[in-house]
């Protein structure tokens, strides 16, 4: 490949991709609406920061993908792609200023243009925009040519600033809750009401660099020391770590405050759902897209039994809970029977149909005298533990923690049992499994029933947490989210599910500004994670191995 070709292929083309990406996030309004929040107060708004990060990333990729190992051409590619990105934006600003494109593209506002051109009107602004692109490209080019350590240091330090600024609304209330003079002083030093102070930004970079260098220098020593420990000692340290983790989990809500506890309970509900679906999809290999049905059944059983509305059975949460789980299990068996013979995508759409049928039936006017219809069922009492009302999310947290530990325990035991092995065998090949003497009917139904039971447990807790149930809360997106959690986390892996739920459900809740864009970011994240790490974030060791075998085989056949 000649230099000119590479300039076109890497510099211009990757620059164009970056340009379109930045254009998209500008046009859907992210740059503008995040412009109100500063990463560094008065210096760097969040919207601009995101645009800069994408530009630098694209320019860096342009340098990295260059097949010619000539420093000058790599640098040139980075600069060119940076320039192309800003060229796209400049063209957009010029078009937007001379024609009325706002009729169609609602995000193309004058405010956006002024943000993109740094507030400078006319040709000066365009020039500034192009210059910024050039500088981004040059920065990325230099970054690429740096040696490994300084490069990682720079990137991570910049990311630290970004994350500290991004999570301000989380960190600040936690700091303020202590209300000690020292901490108040620190909070004031680092944060204004809107973003980091410049001093805070510099300080955090310095602190980060020191910590990073210290860790880098001693990392090897610590690891080798741990490896040199005798087996018992290692086990002991593992147990100690487990106990520390347990203590952290127990005292966590006392420090988190209302908002974070709320987020954690949401994550917890999805972890429970994910653990249940993991049995069906991860262990037994049955793709179930109607999983929300059992969640709904759990919720509605608790609602009907405990709420004074409709029937007024007058049971309390603890009496209703086992009934809800049993109903879930029964429903799992009942809905499992008709789909026994279906495979693959036929199974997926049939189960999805079941989920919708349950929701529509609950919603209908026809069943309204018994299920409440669109009005739902309200006034569900909170769980009551020895006279103590579990009202706040902090209280529900313990309920969920207990549930999750129980379900993880059951999952681990099941996995290692005969049934677990039968599920795995069925996942690999149904026909072979049957030939080996596995009773497919019983094994499948058991998988459906177990998963349904866990889901109903989650639903029961959900109903009593939120205090009311509505058919609209049980739509197909819950099923889809749970499938995504299981697969993004790493199919079949229990820690993966916790990580998946935290990333997919918790993170978007934390970033309140993202509210409007959370589904957008969620979609992008799903695609990117699957493209970069198809085996999931925390894959099960066995599965990862399998997976890599398969991709290599696949790559061979395609080639």
């Amino acid at each position: 490949m000649t230099k000119a070709q590479s300039l076109w292929n890497q510099g211009v083309k990757i620059g164009a991709i970056g340009g379109v990406s930045v254009l998209i996030i500008s046009l859907i309004g992210m740059v503008e609406s995040f412009g109100k929040r500063d990463i560094i107060a008065g210096v760097l708004p969040m919207g601009v920061a995101i645009a800069l990060i994408i530009s630098i990333l694209a320019a860096y990729m342009a340098a990295k993908k260059t097949p010619i190992s000539d420093k000058s051409i790599q640098f040139a590619n980075a600069v060119v792609s940076g320039l192309v990105i800003s060229g796209f934006l400049a063209a957009f600003v010029m078009i937007g200023r001379s024609f009325n494109i706002r009729e169609m593209l609602v995000g193309a506002s004058p405010v956006l243009y002024s943000i993109l051109t740094g507030g400078v009107a006319g040709a000066g602004g365009i020039f500034l925009l192009l210059l910024t692109g050039l500088l981004c490209g040059a920065f990325a080019g230099i970054l690429y040519m740096l040696r490994d350590l300084p490069r990682r240091l720079t990137v991570n330090a910049l990311l630290t600033i970004f994350i500290l600024g991004l999570l301000q609304e989380l960190i600040l209330p936690i700091l303020k809750a202590w209300d000690v003079g020292m901490i108040n002083y620190l909070a004031g030093l680092f944060y204004t009401l809107n973003g980091l102070t410049p001093v805070g930004a510099i300080l955090s970079v310095v602190i980060f660099c020191i910590l990073y260098l210290l860790w880098n220098a001693n990392q090897g020593a610590i690891k080798s020391k741990y490896a040199a420990l005798p087996k018992e000692a290692r086990k002991k340290s593992q147990i100690a770590a487990l106990i520390v983790l347990a203590v952290i989990l127990i005292v966590l809500p006392q420090f988190l405050g209302l908002f974070l506890s709320e987020v954690i309970t949401i994550v917890g509900l999805y972890v429970l759902l994910g653990l249940g679906l993991n049995i069906v999809v991860g262990y037994a290999g049955l793709l179930d897209l109607g999983y929300v049905a059992f969640f709904a059944i759990g919720s509605y059983v608790v609602a009907l039994l405990t709420s004074p509305q409709i029937f007024a059975f007058g049971l309390n949460f603890w009496q209703a809970l086992p009934i809800a789980v049993i109903c879930g299990i029964l429903a799992g068996v009942m809905l499992g029977i008709p789909v026994l013979k279906m495979r693959g995508d036929y199974l997926a759409i049939a189960t999805l149909g079941f989920g919708e049928i349950i929701r529509i039936l609950v919603l209908s006017d026809f069943l309204r005298p018994w299920l409440g219809g669109a009005q739902g069922i309200g006034s569900i009492p909170n769980p009551n533990l020895f006279g103590f009302q579990m009202v706040k999310p902090q209280h529900i947290y313990y309920l969920l923690l207990a549930g999750i530990i129980l379900v993880i325990f059951i999952s681990l035991r099941l996995k290692k049992s005969k049934i677990g092995r039968a599920w795995m065998a069925m996942r690999e090949d149904e026909d072979v499994a049957q030939a080996m003497g596995i009773n497919l009917v019983a094994t499948k139904l058991l998988a459906f029933a177990t998963g349904a039971g866990f889901s109903a447990l989650s639903g029961a807790i959900f109903a009593s947490k939120i205090g009311s149930v509505y058919p609209h809360s049980f739509n197909v997106f819950i099923s889809i989210n749970v499938v995504c959690i299981v697969i993004i986390g790493g199919i079949g892996s229990l820690p993966g599910i916790v990580v998946g739920a935290a990333v997919l459900m918790g993170l978007p809740e934390l970033l309140r500004e993202f509210a409007e864009y959370r589904m957008f970011v969620y979609g992008v994240a799903l695609v990117i994670v699957m493209l970069l790490r198809p085996e999931g974030l925390l894959p099960e060791a066995r599965h990862k191995m399998e997976f890599h075998d398969e991709t290599e085989a696949g790559a061979k056949t395609v080639a």
Binding site: I28, G29, M30, M342, R343, C484, G523, E550
Partner: protein
Amino acid sequence: MFQKWKDRVTVTDIVMWMIGGTLLLLCLWGSVSTIRAGLYTKSHWIDFLIFGLAQGSIYALIATGYTMVYGVLKMINFAHGEVFMSGPFTGYFVATAMWRSDFLDNHPIMAIVAIFAVAMFVSTMVAFLVEKIAYRPLRGAPRLIPLITAIGASFFLQYLFKGLYGSGVNAYPDIEILNGFWMIFGIRVLKIQVIVIIAAIVLMLVLYNFIMLTRVGKAIRAVSEDKEAAALMGINVDAMISTTFIIGGMAAGAAGVLYALMFKQVHFFMGFLPGLKAFTAAVLGGIGNIPGAMLGGIFLGLIESVAPALFLDGLGIIAPYQLKDAIAFTMLVMVLIFRPTGILGERLASKKA
């Protein structure tokens, strides 16, 4: 004899027959009592049929896209509903611009052609790009992985178009020549529904003949039979997969405009439900099978329109049209119980699926 029968029929089979039988009886009972009650006249029933046919032919057009992609990639293209949405949503701006300049009223046919062209182009581009970015790098990955990227792409597209064009509901302008009705054999039929049905049938015939008769169509069929063998025969597999997406995108874009002309309102979420229904239709007909998708789509449309009045009214169920989706999905499950690979699906497919 009895022993042999006992070996072949399991308990689950009997349970399934009982479920199926009960539902069938309920449907029969409902139909008989509805008809005996005499609430609806003959013209009502004909109206129900035509409304169902029009809705069903749109489902059928979208379903062909699902089914073709399934044929070549063996994956559920969850983003197809968004491909369907992107075209008419963009077409809306063309339509209003032409309406403002009176072009729409003066040259309605040309205007409609222009809307179709823009919408089909956008849908095709979206389908092509989705395949290139989200699916192509994952060839040979386990089946669940592209499913997740498809879901991701679907969310991305929905909220991309929400961000670009706004979250409100936009309405296509009225096109005079499409308003009103024709009398056909003494039956009053809405013009727009006749046009939708005819356009859908013509498009599907073109599509079917393209797949069955042309060289490219043959190559696509070869790829869906066996990718490796097709590659050995000198077929460019990647190009054929792209072509499939392009054809599917064009069909979805056309279906989208027909949908928009019939229901007027367009918004960023409009693709989700029709997408789901069309996928159901594709499975109903036997996924991977083009005539099956068409049959499934029309069947689904008819069920949605006729079944609530026919089956449920007689059973004394109030507000039966709230339950139309539940009936449609119940039908789907019933069909799959007795023919696990859909109406026209091959028995063989159970192994592949």
